[in-house]
Amino acid sequence: ARYHTTQLGEMAKTGKARNKELARGINRVGRTTASSKAGRFRFTKKGGAAVEQKQAEEVPLGRYYQADDVAKPIPSRKSRHKPTRLRANITPGTVLILLAGRFKGNRVVFLKQLSSGLLLVSGPYKINGVPLRRVNQAYVISTSTKVDTSKVDVSQLDDGFFAKSVEAPKAGGEEFFADDSQKHVVSAEKKAMQKKVDKTLMAAISKVELLSAYLGAKFSLKKGQYPHEMKF
């Protein structure tokens, strides 16, 4: 609607807009008229200094700039706001094919998604040698085969289980002469947890024919097989 400038002033008193945006950056009423409609004449005297009435403490930000450039720190992106989105076809019990890492080609059972977003999987260890391990979703193909993991209890397991113990650094040049072939010893705690989880897993797997052999076999592409044409 088109309003005369006097009408705009009246509208302001009733709480309606004093000005109107015609297009971006272009208002119906120009700066001078707008300020007169706002009643700025109440705070200025002709030829004299501006008499400041009690105004709000905060100066409107639009016309205010710092005298010197103040460095603003770039907001950190490290704070994770959302948990990693789990692919819809990956549910507890899904058989996954690992595509990278030490166990690439192995078929493993998905147990749960940890708080870091990584997937917790288990071979089970007795079948294919894959222990309780964390795996990234991106390096995994999910198959349509599901194992019944309703009786498997992994609620106590989280990323803390996989934290590496920090060893005290050796003094000076000893490191270079030390025996490099340090055997990686698996803690008793991890072995116990592995046994506990795998016990219920194996029970569920043995119920399905050929599933144990399937998990023990490695995945590979044969001649004439193209992943984009295959269903998993």
Binding site: T143, S144, L210, A213, Y214, F219, E229, K231, F232
Partner: protein
């Protein structure tokens, strides 16, 4: 009338030409989103196109004009089908003459179904197939060695 696509090459071997484009001819669509489905030719539009219907209720192919190049003619035909027959009559005659059963019994249809099944196998299914093929190969090998010994 158009001869079969294989026409000149195998005419002597096949003898009588029996797959003609005619009203009532059942064809298998070999190109496009409807490939693998069968349809009935109910009219001929021009040199390149046929007017075709599933029937839609049975095969899922809507009544439409379709290029001959997208069709592979079969040996099945609906007898005495009038040109441009309405849906109800087409459905009735299709069912009465048992066309779907004839098609499903053909080797052609069975091969299509087998290819579709193989394409839809999941990873575990493919593993099971592999195990079965190995078992079969073993049995064949065993009987072969028996035959060799007795010979």
């Amino acid at each position: 009338k158009k001869a079969t696509a294989a026409g000149p090459l195998f005419a002597s071997a096949m003898g009588k030409q029996d797959r003609f484009v005619e009203v009532g001819r059942v064809a298998c669509i070999n190109y496009g989103p409807l490939s693998g489905k069968i349809c009935v030719i109910i009219d001929v539009v021009d040199q390149n196109r046929a007017y075709v219907d599933g029937p839609e209720a049975i095969t899922g192919v809507k009544r439409q004009s379709i290029p001959f190049r997208w069709l592979s003619l079969t040996t099945i035909k609906i007898e005495d089908l009038p040109r441009n027959s309405k849906v109800a009559r087409l459905n009735r005659m299709f069912k009465e003459q048992g066309i779907m059963d004839k098609w499903n019994a053909s080797t052609w249809a069975k091969k299509l179904a087998r290819s579709a099944k193989r394409a839809n196998l999941g990873d575990f299914d493919r593993f099971k197939v592999m195990v079965l093929r190995k078992k079969r190969a073993k049995l064949i090998g065993q009987s072969l060695s028996k035959l060799k010994k007795s010979a």
